[in-house]
């Protein structure tokens, strides 16, 4: 066994790291279960903490939050029929009917255990696939890396958007923002308008806080007015551990969910909701009792829950090996690493192998603590659902402001955060996805650097992108991704036009 693996395990198993994972899991379960708060919001809340903690401890905290946030989302989906996170939407379809039959505890138990197995399966994928992929990625040169980042952006746009044009526009707006600040090759100031604060560019974490938190604060305001309450959360939870029959029934959907989730997690932008619905659909098709689905079926809870937790480990693979985030959470993880001077990508395994394996094992611990805290503390945790929004939302707003300030001890970042909040609201009004913009902000600088380095090395010969097999492969994939999205959008438009007629 490689010494990096052993060192990584030792690093992840230190008391401080373990406590950090456990704390992250607790916050994740709470944030995940509160409707209106997403995992991204949870991360925004604890983000200022990561600035002062050691890198391994901060990543452990964020991983705990990421894993448990997925599980926590199912709690409110089952108890209130309001998914705490988008990934838990499919869980509500069978979880809530089972809870209505008086089996809320059993439904929650099935969700927690399925989440655990999904997470564990994706840990194995991460452990075995990530180092191999990092080895391959080490052979990539600038043109290959440019094409890879370009492919990453196109696939994110196509997955994240109903309209490809809007998805691409969102990404291009992100690229416009990235060009503010110093030019990465020559250090020339671009679009800074003689503002000192703009020379180092706009920090993407500031943008992220504004883009996610402010629209969510507005959303919650609407929900309060609609009068959505959490009174059902007080329902008594009896037995949490599922019976033997349930465990037998869970085998097949958990297998499907784990496979689909891990695979889709690797694809940037695919995310938990897609994995959860695909797994639900496959499990129904392969089930011996498909008629039970939608009425409180064990399989109907297990499949999406294992899938959305399996996505977490899958999403860490491209983040760690290629430096490409698959979703906002992994984008924040990249940001947290960069703040500590560690760049994710193939070199992470080569130069900081122990740290890379430390992340992988922290992910393992996150899954262990997720099941332990969720099963033991379930009865107390669900009480959080009755916290009044009039206290919760202002607290989040204050934490967002302090979080943006703490990044660089600068009021300017607070104003930028607010500006991005307004941008986020405008984009939602236009039905334009936010995720491509955010990921373009993470990847934009790399895209420019690799493009310009490639052109300089080839003396401005663009055929360099087509002569390297890796680069050509990624460009073809990008082409397929764009073509497929256009085709899918056309089909959807035709369908909706027919409906209107």
């Amino acid at each position: 066994m490689s010494p990096d693996v052993i060192d990584g395990f030792a690093q992840a198993s230190q008391l401080s790291t373990i406590l950090s994972v456990a704390f992250g899991c607790l916050i994740g379960l709470i944030v995940g279960m509160i409707p209106g708060l997403t995992i991204s919001t949870g991360i925004i809340i604890v983000l200022p903490l990561t600035f002062v903690l050691e890198p391994d401890i901060s990543i452990a905290l964020l991983l705990g939050l990421y894993v448990s946030g997925m599980t926590g989302g199912s709690f409110s989906a089952i108890l209130l029929n309001i998914p705490g996170t988008p990934s838990a939407s499919a869980t509500a379809m069978d979880g809530h009917p089972m809870a209505k039959k008086g089996d809320a505890g059993r439904a929650l138990g099935i969700a927690i255990i399925a989440s655990f197995f999904g997470g564990l399966a994706s840990f194995l994928c991460l452990f075995f696939i990530a180092p191999v992929l990092a080895d391959v990625a080490l052979r990539f040169k600038s043109p290959d890396l440019f094409s890879l980042v370009f492919f990453g952006l196109t696939i994110i746009c196509s997955f994240a958007a109903k309209s490809l044009i809007k998805g691409l526009l969102s990404a291009v707006i992100g690229l416009v923002i990235v060009t503010i600040g110093q030019d990465p090759m020559m250090g020339t100031a671009r679009f800074t308008f003689d503002q000192v604060n703009l020379i180092s560019g706009i920090h993407f974490l500031t943008a992220l806080i504004g883009l996610f938190a402010i629209p969510q604060l507005v959303d919650n305001l609407s929900e309060i007015i609609k009068g959505k309450t959490a009174s059902e959360a007080g329902a008594k939870i009896k037995k949490v551990i599922p019976n033997l029959r349930d465990l037998r029934l869970m085998k097949m959907p958990v297998g499907i969910g784990s496979f689909v989730g891990s695979f889709l997690g690797i694809l940037p932008g695919a995310g938990g909701p897609i994995a959860a619905f695909i797994s639900y659909d496959y499990s129904r098709k392969l089930s011996k009792t498909p008629d039970e689905f939608g009425k409180g079926s064990t399989e109907g809870i297990a499949a999406p829950e294992s899938a959305n937790n399996a996505v977490t480990g899958g999403a860490l693979i491209p983040m760690m090996t290629l430096g490409i985030p698959g979703d906002p959470v992994t984008a924040i993880l990249i940001g947290a690493l960069l703040i500590h001077g560690l760049a994710p990508g193939p070199l992470l395994f080569m130069e900081n192998g122990d740290f890379a394996y430390g992340i992988i094992f922290s992910f393992f611990w996150a899954n262990i603590f997720n099941i332990l805290i969720a099963l033991i503390g379930l009865r107390f945790l669900v009480k959080v659902l009755v916290i009044p929004k009039a206290i919760l939302m202002p607290t989040i707003a204050i934490l967002c402001v302090i979080g943006s300030y703490a990044l660089r001890n600068n009021f300017f970042d607070v104003y930028v955060m607010f500006g991005f909040g307004l941008l986020g609201l405008a984009m939602r009004w236009l039905d334009m996805p936010i995720v491509p913009l955010l990921l373009a902000m993470v990847l934009g600088r790399q895209l420019e650097e690799h493009l310009r380095v490639s052109l300089i090395s080839s003396q401005n010969d663009i055929t360099i992108f087509f002569t390297s097999p890796f680069s050509l492969f990624f460009l073809c994939l990008a082409g397929v991704s764009i073509f497929w999205s256009f085709w899918a959008e056309r089909q959807n438009t035709k369908k909706s036009q027919k409906k209107l007629i």
């Binding site: 200022p48 903490l49 600035f51 002062v52 309209s163 044009i165 809007k166 691409l168 526009l169 291009v172 707006i173 690229l175 416009v176 060009t179 030019d183 090759m185 020559m186 020339t188 100031a189 671009r190 679009f191 604060l217 507005v218 919650n220 305001l221 609407s222 309060i224 007015i225 009044p388 929004k389 009039a390 206290i391 939302m393 202002p394 607290t395 707003a397 204050i398 934490l399 402001v401 302090i402 300030y405 703490a406 001890n409 009021f411 607070v414 104003y415 607010f418 236009l430 039905d431 334009m432 420019e448 493009l451 310009r452 052109l455 300089i456 003396q459 401005n460 909706s496 036009q497 209107l500």
Partner: protein
């Protein structure tokens, strides 16, 4: 007003085309460097300008070509409260350097709490003071992040 997605797309595309024009203008005025066989700082922004222009015009075309746009339901969001929240945030941000995080957060928390439906004044005062002080001291003393306290500096120090 602007209750169909086509109208919204039209509006957005016009804004984006104007933005694209400004971006192109500033890109054209970027500093150049006399280094052989290298790309200029304006190289990547020009690519973005072209992409932005193509996509903005595509959105404009799309808003004209689609025969009948989806009519959107009237927003259920409480417009008055959102506007109130917006102005409260503006006032908070403007006063933040002056009154600092401690005083600013207490007032901002209280205002938001009222907007989010809390009617009991005692509860509002209690929670806004306790939570704001707790968060402030957590960041300032535990995380060692120096949060400015503005005019309260002389009182607290």
């Amino acid at each position: 007003m602007l209750n169909s997605m086509n109208k919204r797309n039209l509006f957005a595309s016009i804004i984006l085309i104007i933005l694209c024009g400004f971006y192109a203008y500033f890109t054209a005025n970027l500093e150049t460097r006399n280094i052989q066989n290298t790309t200029q700082p304006s190289f990547f922004p020009w690519i973005i300008t072209v992409c932005l222009a193509i996509l903005s015009f595509s959105l404009l075309l799309q808003s004209f070509l689609l025969k009948k746009g989806q009519i959107l339901k009237k927003a259920s969001a409480p417009r008055g409260l959102i506007i109130l929240g917006f102005f409260l945030s503006l006032a908070y941000l403007a006063l933040l350097p002056l009154i600092g995080f401690l005083g600013g957060n207490i007032l901002f928390f209280a205002g938001l709490s009222r907007i989010y439906g809390e009617k009991n004044i005692l509860k509002i005062c209690l929670f806004s003071v306790i939570i704001s002080i707790f968060i402030f001291y957590l960041f300032r003393n535990v995380f060692q992040i120096q949060l400015p306290i503005g005019i309260l500096e002389s009182v607290l120090s």
